[in-house]
Amino acid sequence: MLSKYSEVKWESQKLAINYFRVAIILFLANLLFGLLAAIQYLYPNFLFEIIDFSINRTLHINALVVWLLYAMIGAVYWMLPEETGIETVGIGLGKLLFYILTAAIAVVVLVFLLIQVGAGDIKSIWLINEGREYLEAPRWADIGIVVVVLGFLANVFLTAFKGRRTGILTVLMFDLLALAGLYLAGMFFTKNISMDQFWWWWVIHLWVEATWEVYVAAVVGWGLIKTLGANRKIVEMWIWIELAMLFGSGILGLGHHYFWIGTPEYWWEIGALFSALEPVPLIGMFVHVIYDWGKQAGKQHEINNKPAFAWFVVNTFGNFLGAGVWGFMHTLPQINIYTHGTQWTPAHGHLAFYGAYAAILIGMMYIVVQGKYGIRQMRFTAAGKWGISLLTIGLIGMTMALTIAGYQQSMIERAEFGSTWAGYFAAQNSHWMLQAMGWRLAMGVVTMLGFVFLFKDLLTIGPKLKAEEAAGSTANANAPAGAAATA
């Protein structure tokens, strides 16, 4: 992905490659700060009062959100000219915004690392740290993000209206508009923590359990057409069905975050019912991929990008398992009163973010590499196989370890000790909790190894397969006609 060689003719796709380049670097930061935080669970003096857990975790989760957003924007810029058949309108503005956004993010990261915290006044919220999980970016950066996203949306809308507006694009336009608008719900200060959390969840939940999921449904659909040659009409119909199910369950599924933050009791029933329905569309997405795969098998269209397709399968199954099953396991209020705010949440969070979002966007990276080098058949390389295997094993391993930690914490801190300060430490110091955290760290290292293979593969697979295909076509050209036909 780094080399200058490119068969990409659309400027929009060149911009997409830049978005993916930053995304993969932020993915590395995501894993790196996660590892530091995981070490601190076992060795609390590690980097104590230098880069504290709070800083590591902030960078861990923000790098995650930002790399996913970068890859999401990149994927749209990649798809846009292929869907519309025209160059992206306002591509110059798009490039400018890319550099502004990247510079802003670099400044925010440096402030988080070097300044870390501010005095208790509104200036700190504007300049240093907003201090609200996932939305830590200071207010100036929020405004910058909104401006950049508005520019991006303008590009998408204008291009779609000028060129061909496909069903997939229509879904994306509608979805991205909602996604951007929701961010505004997180941009105000209130002294009332209940009100703060109420609107905070509008951003967090309606992103990851509604608009991001619909985005994924649209991108997977596009990817299936691209890699399998799936029937566009069927794919687009499926996307509308998925959209209905995702928004039908996800919008009111917001209620499962309103059990204990000061909000009325009726959210118990609403949250329980709709969040219990949330896994249904995720099964649908998995079935869709497998169905299309089976339907196309043996036909003219072989999978033309095996690594991308494998990542789509990891995506749909991981989404169902991580977001669907692991989410459902602790979503009912009767259970959630004991699991809310314990290691249950990161157990679910790790597999859900990986399955639902990381995997699909890594799949998109392979499609980008294929397009950049003009490769007809993308096969798996050894590094690619190691990458997908180790990342998946690492994430599942971390999820299992954190699930055990979550059980421990729920049982000891919540049930046995009544949730007090003493109960918290009793749970944290129980040997089973420490064992789980040890496994989490080990599996974190496996994940990091997987990333190294993935990174190497993304850098090298393009030139390698391109050279192979070039060698193959010369060989074919020199061989007798009959041999070329059977090759």
Binding site: I55, W240, I261, G341, T342, G423
Partner: protein, 219 residues
């Protein structure tokens, strides 16, 4: 023109319309429910508090009162009970304006120090440190807990404030809270924020808070 499908189930148009309706109705329901919830979780007035009206989020002047967390037989879980006047840093007569300023400063400090990255507030945040929802009521800060003796203080609020200003000098476990440069004013404001948070009706979360003493506090 789309081809006429043989069945409605295979019609993109049908599903597109359905998606529109489902999304629209869900969004309207959410807005309607939010319109009911937002007034309920808005801070009530000091007059409402003095009149003893039931409320989910009390006004900042709740810091003038004693707060307990008791089982409510009708609702089937614990709720915060706002009791008689109680001194907070030696006073129980904070005006609405003073209490408001204190709570605002406290909340700003909680955000500027990024407390939520290690602690959970109302159960949301990081899992590296104890949940703070009902921290104000935690026995750790009472005369039964370790902190009053360690900080050489005689009240809950003083122990909390002194700890917050120099947390890593009062270690109880290998995992310590780092120095965050919290000033005396900020520390007092954060304690006011914590006391206010303990008075919020969280539908019984956390369950049995401080009711079970476990092995550690067994008497």
């Amino acid at each position: 023109m789309e081809e006429r499908p043989t069945s409605v189930w295979g019609s993109t148009r049908f599903w597109r319309k359905s998606a529109g309706w489902v999304t629209g109705v869900s969004a309207l329901l959410l807005i309607w429910l939010s319109a009911d919830t937002v007034p309920q979780i808005s801070m009530r007035s000091a007059e409402d508090l003095d009149a003893g009206k039931p409320m989910r989020v009390p006004p900042p002047t709740v810091i003038n009162h004693k707060i307990t967390y008791e089982f409510d037989a009708r609702r089937g879980h614990e709720i915060p009970i706002i009791g008689e006047k109680e001194a907070f840093f030696g006073r129980n007569d904070y005006s609405e304006e003073e209490a408001n300023a204190l709570l605002t400063h406290g909340k700003l400090t909680v955000q500027a120090k990024n407390c939520m990255s290690c602690h959970t507030l109302l159960g949301n945040g990081g899992y590296y440190a104890p949940d703070l929802t009902k921290a104000w009521l935690d026995p750790a800060w009472s005369d039964q807990g370790p902190y009053m003796a360690m900080t050489g203080t005689t009240s809950r609020e003083e122990a909390m404030a002194k700890f917050l200003m120099k947390p890593s000098t009062y270690p109880t476990h290998a995992r310590r809270m780092p120095e965050l440069g919290i000033t005396e004013d900020e520390a007092k404001a954060v304690v006011a924020f914590l006391k206010h948070m303990a008075s919020i009706d969280t539908n019984g979360f956390p369950r049995n808070f401080a009711k079970i003493n476990g092995g550690v506090n067994a008497k």
